[in-house]
């Protein structure tokens, strides 16, 4: 069944979009990520203009992270103070990212920068996750106990000034790395059209030693606030949010996320991290392939002023 999308200006198969929402929602629920890094390329692939895809995906991520955040809220697994600190720097990062986005677009190099960012970030993060998860798997296989104490609980980041205590996460760290992480997530999110959950979770674990109990819930609150405000900002400034597309994605997304979360709970965390690592790595390789392989057509068109 075809449905015409008013802002994207093209008809799409409603079941295809619903299915994409379900699939990405399932993955996002399973791994506790927003899923923007999968949804944005998928929408572009079915012909949605990239700008509309980025803007509409924001509301889809807001919906699925809202479901997730509420679940974690009931389990008291959210560190609001940490989320707000990350957010304050995240807004500055987003603004910087939007500024660079506009500039690169004018120079016709936006596609290249997005492509390279996806390749570098996704292959690096994916590779690290696979490596870490495989080691954990091997340790488990040899029958060694999992390291209960997080290794190297104190690194140089803990020596920085402006220390703050985050009670819910039971950490005492400097505000500087917290701001740094918030800024880079906001910056990367604005340029790549992603929520950044898959980057934020490992960063919080490895750099700030945030315990696994609060990390996903906190990341979801951050994603929820940034994506909800991104929806409003995109709608108010560029008029690019396609409400019909967003609604179909949301409905599929929240249902998929529930089943994903259910499946995720039944799996071992190492296995889950390995799978997420492989997924992230695969998407990165897919982008690398696109950059290196000669395109079907060396020429491409970009709309400067619409009719």
């Amino acid at each position: 069944m075809q449905i015409y999308l008013p802002i994207a200006d093209l008809p799409v198969n409603i079941f295809l979009v619903l299915g994409m929402g379900l699939a990405v929602g399932f993955i996002s629920g399973m791994f506790g990520i927003g899923g923007g890094f999968l949804m944005t390329p998928l929408l572009i692939f079915i012909g949605i203009p990239p700008a509309v895809a980025v803007a509409s995906v924001a509301s889809h991520i807001a919906a699925s992270s809202c479901t997730g955040a509420l679940t974690y809220w009931r389990r008291r697994a959210i560190d609001i103070a940490l989320a707000l600190m990350l957010l304050s720097a995240g807004i500055v990062g987003t603004a910087t990212g939007v500024w660079l986005f506009t500039m690169l677009r004018a120079l016709d190099q936006l596609d290249l920068v997005i492509g390279i960012s996806y390749v570098v970030l996704l292959t690096a993060v994916g590779g690290l996750m696979i490596n870490e998860a495989l080691r954990a798997e091997m340790r488990a296989h040899r029958g060694m106990p999992a390291t209960l104490r997080r290794p190297g609980s104190h690194n140089w980041l803990h020596g920085l000034p402006l220390k703050m205590r985050f009670k819910r996460s039971k950490i005492y760290v400097s505000a500087i790395p917290v701001w740094g992480i918030g800024f880079s997530i906001g910056f990367v999110g604005a340029i790549m059209g992603i929520g950044g959950g898959f980057l934020l979770v490992p960063m919080l674990i490895y750099f700030l030693r945030v315990p696994t109990a609060t990390v996903i819930g906190t990341s979801m609150v951050l994603t929820l606030i940034t994506m909800a405000s991104a929806t409003v900002m995109h709608a108010a400034t560029n008029h690019l949010v396609d409400a019909i597309l967003a609604l179909i994605l949301m409905v599929g997304g929240v249902i998929g996320a529930q089943f994903g979360a259910h499946t995720g709970h039944k799996m071992r965390p190492e296995r889950l991290r390995l799978m997420l690592g492989l997924l992230v790595f695969a998407v990165g390789v897919r982008f690398a392939y696109e950059l290196v392989v000669p395109p079907d057509d060396l020429y491409s068109l970009r709309l400067v002023s619409p009719p």
Binding site: Y4, Q258, Y299
Partner: protein
């Protein structure tokens, strides 16, 4: 000055030509409504050739229907391999060109008239003026310019530019019909239909009509809301997102 003289001359020519044969045309639909189940539409143009008083009809006519959609400005970019990866290294802007262009004829344009007539009357894809910004100048290039060719090729792949030598059929020597394909992703706005009649390689008649592609129903409501009340629209979308997220978490609650 020369350009203005040429325009005046062209107008004089069309005026004198229009006196010989009269064209009467009608479209099957003057307005295409884009609703939620819109997947594109084919319009039909009907028409007849009528002689002016005291004139005889010629034996064979050719018809050229040129349909142009709302104009837009596009940038064509060319990639090249730099250090192993493909990078946009050159770009050309096409200024205020039609977003949709269809050239419909009863036989190949080259057989209808000579190259000079085709160029002067802008008949056929190759003769259609596509203004490019080259540095500070605005001009069309030669037809085999790589950017121009690439631009037309890309637009043809999107089914937005087309040229068909079979789209016009003469039902009798003076009654014709032409089918105009409007793809689903054609822009909304006014589409101009320019109808030119040729006989023995010269233009003998001309008329014009137009149709509109407009959004209707929910589609129109959504577009208007997003354009005129962007902030409210954004807040509504955000509220919907939060509401759907909350509903799902309540509906699937297991604890």
């Amino acid at each position: 000055m020369i350009a203005r003289a040429a325009i005046v001359l062209a107008l004089a020519l069309t005026a004198s030509a229009a006196r010989a044969e009269r064209l009467v045309v009608s479209l099957s639909n003057a307005r295409i409504a884009v609703t939620s189940n819109y997947v594109g539409e084919d319009l039909v143009l009907f028409g007849t050739v009528q002689p002016d008083v005291g004139k005889e009809l010629k034996d064979a006519y050719d018809l050229v229907v040129t349909v142009t959609g709302p104009s837009e400005t596009l940038r064509a970019r060319r990639k090249e391999r730099v250090l192993g990866i493909f990078v946009n290294i050159d770009a050309r802007e096409f200024v205020r060109v039609p977003s949709y262009l269809a050239v419909l004829t009863d036989r190949p344009v080259a057989q209808i008239a000579g190259p000079q007539v085709l160029r002067r009357q802008q008949v056929g894809m190759d003769s259609f003026i596509l203004t490019q910004r080259v540095g500070a100048d605005f001009a069309d290039t030669v037809t085999d310019d790589p950017f121009r060719k690439a631009f037309i090729r890309l637009k043809e792949q999107q089914h937005l530019y087309s040229q068909s030598a079979t789209a016009v059929t003469f039902l009798t020597p003076t009654v014709f019909r032409a089918s105009i394909p409007v793809p689903a992703d054609a822009a909304t706005g006014r589409f101009d239909v320019d109808v030119k009649l040729f006989a023995q390689g010269a233009m003998v008649g001309r008329t014009a009509t137009s149709f509109a592609v407009t959004k209707a129903g929910v589609e129109q409501y959504v577009v208007e809301a997003s354009q005129n009340h962007g902030l409210l629209y954004g807040l509504a979308t955000m509220t919907a997102a939060l509401a759907i997220g909350w509903l799902a978490s309540v509906a699937f609650r297991r604890d």
